[in-house]
Subunit: 229 residues, 2 copies
DNA sequence: CCTACCGATCGGTAGG
DNA sequence: CCTACCGATCGGTAGG
């Protein structure tokens, strides 16, 4: 999983292939493969922001979580707010990427033959299942932070995040419209979208991977709740 | 609306009815009817906690909002956390009270004749409409704070709030069970409850009283989304 | 309820 | 990326 938000960091192998092993200071096993210390910070921040909230998490907490001193996160990020934004942007980038992959694997065929009724239903199932995975799957702190810490973004950051959210939801809308057209969804698409995402997003508040139902169970329940026939 | 959380404040008229007008310092129009300065603090805290979040709101903000000096809120509340708890507890107390009244006015008749199918549906409609009112109606900051600031409660406070929430939801469960039994709800009641509350509670994030649909529209949409037939 | 105050913590920076 | 540090702010308290 690539955690870098921008690609401005120099890649290890540069253009001219020089054979001579440069005098790069040797690293211990724990220390090597840095160069994405930035990514470590983002991951640690995501975990802490989710646990305690943005305002209650200090940059010192985050630094300590990756073994840095209190001032060092500011070598990688201009401000605490920029770190929050990096968490959210990386979360959405990754979620959109995974969603595209999931759809590819599901072998989409919407707007095809007359089977579109079954097909739209199957697609929603895939989308919901993926959404649960992104929110509740192993090591998914990014999207919960994105969902619940909007308040701390600047107006400009909000605009960008809103754009990414539109990208994420872009693939849902035609599915909902097809379901509405075929009578499997009785609620106007615009409000249906908001209510359905609410039902799903709220699961972050109560889902317990150790006890409650599985993500498959959740998906079945959601389908049964929203879809007619 | 009574905002006092405990009734420990002395009432104005005491046991022995003395005719003589006591030398109570005269108050201007703005100042009179205090004695619930405590209530003022709770209302101001609710508004600010909702706007900026608990951690980002200072006790000085709250004090200033009611025209007090920075140290004065601590005359009324032991700590900032106690003030948060007072907001939530008052919110739930009021919501439960209003819910009972709403149900009384709706003239319940569940588990009556064979009309229970229509009746269960109508009851859910009433409950949903009331829930939207409590979350999104004029001056309702208490429940949104309760929904989104759990993290800042102590374990003991959480237990009490969970108990109040159970009271609030107690009346929903038989309705959902009746709907499930009659085939109007296809989703297992336990998960249905969580998903439905999620869909409703999330509206706090996007509802705009000035633009979007009315609370009635929301209620119709939710019913159409959840209920079969 | 105000005045005056305290210790702790926080985001962030200079300079290496 | 560390050291050393700063100004600001915060929750809370004593004493009236």
């Amino acid at each position: 999983m690539n955690l870098d938000v921008d690609t401005s960091m120099p890649s290890t192998a540069s253009a001219t292939a020089v054979a001579k092993p440069r005098g790069r200071p040797r690293k211990t096993l724990e220390e090597r493969e840095d160069g994405n210390r930035k990514g470590d910070l983002i991951a640690a921040a995501a975990k802490l922001f989710r646990q305690k909230g943005f305002d209650a998490t200090s940059t010192r907490d985050i630094a300590a979580a990756v073994g840095m001193r209190s001032g060092s996160p500011f070598y990688h990020f201009k401000s605490k707010g920029d770190l929050l934004y990096a968490v959210m942007a990386e979360g959405m980038r990754s979620a959109i990427e995974k969603q595209q992959l999931t759809l590819k694997n599901a072998n989409i065929s919407l707007s095809n033959s007359e089977q579109t009724k079954q097909e739209a239903r199957r697609l929603l199932h895939v989308l919901i299942r993926h959404h649960f995975e992104v929110m509740l799957g192993a090591g998914s702190d990014f999207i919960p932070v994105m969902l619940y810490e909007w308040r701390s973004l600047t107006p400009r950051q909000r605009t960008t995040m809103a754009k990414m959210q539109r990208d994420y939801e872009a693939v849902w809308l035609p599915v909902l419209e097809a379901l509405f057209a075929s009578g499997q969804l009785k609620c106007p698409v615009k409000l249906a979208r908001l209510l359905i995402f609410g039902a799903l997003n709220w699961s972050v508040q109560w889902f317990d991977a150790k006890k409650e139902a599985s993500l498959d169970d959740l998906t079945e329940a959601a389908m049964a709740l929203f879809i007619k026939d």
